[in-house]
């Protein structure tokens, strides 16, 4: 059974700094998703990574997938306050149409 772990679960960082957050998963999953959630809101899709070595970038966020290491990273470049949110990664439960979500990482970007 797939388990998805995010690390860290809470992060406070200063504007302008860079940081990488990690998403590890326990069994084979060829697809990895990143979502963003603002307080009291729904989830917004950020990235879909569908193969080993996939890299996607949008603005100050870049996501990558290493299926051999069972690891996805979300790199934040020159953080700004608007990036403050909770970020979830989710993997596909082997061959099913089900996603398993991590517990989410709450990011706070301070001026």
């Amino acid at each position: 059974e797939l388990k998805v772990e995010q690390n860290p679960l809470f992060l406070s960082m200063q504007e302008g700094k860079n940081y990488t957050i990690y998403c590890n998963y326990s069994t084979t999953s060829d697809r990895l998703y990143w979502y963003r959630q603002d307080p009291g809101k729904s989830l917004e899709s950020l990235f879909v990574l569908l193969s080993n070595g996939a890299v996607k970038q949008e603005g100050r966020l870049m996501a990558s997938l290493d299926t051999k290491a069972r690891l996805s990273t979300l790199h934040i470049t020159a953080a700004v306050h608007d990036l403050s949110a909770t970020y979830f990664c989710a993997g596909e439960q082997g061959g099913s149409e089900k996603l398993v979500f991590g517990k989410g990482m709450k990011l706070t970007v301070n001026p």
Binding site: Y33, S45, L99, V100
Partner: protein, 113 residues
């Protein structure tokens, strides 16, 4: 934004009463999902549907049932609500299962007293 609505958006009910939550989509997507979100647990899948009248269980399906009689509607029923079912419930849709992203509805906050 994907055309997904959930109703009601907020509900307070008492233990032992039945509750039905509705998810409605205008995208004609094949897959629909119900999740619950609780602090410290992220999102957990309750049930999902891969077509009209085709449903399957998720990770936390006990105490919940679902029905999908039309492509656009996916209903989640708590037959006899318990306080442990107090949560935020999200519906999601996907055109092609896990090979494409899921789009989430606005959520329903349910409080069971």
């Amino acid at each position: 934004d994907a055309g997904i609505t959930q109703s009601p958006r907020h509900k307070v009910t008492e233990t032992g009463t039945p509750v039905t939550l509705r998810c409605h989509q205008t995208e004609n997507h094949r897959y629909m999902y119900w999740y619950r979100q609780d602090p410290g647990h992220g999102l957990r899948l309750i049930h999902y549907s891969y077509g009209v009248k085709d449903t399957d269980k998720g990770e936390v399906s006990d105490g919940y049932s679902v029905s999908r009689s039309k492509t656009e509607d996916f209903l989640l029923t708590l037959e006899s609500a318990t306080s442990s079912q107090t949560s935020v419930y999200f519906c999601a849709i996907s055109r092609a299962g896990s090979s494409e992203t899921q789009y989430f509805g606005p959520g329903t906050r349910l409080l069971v007293l």
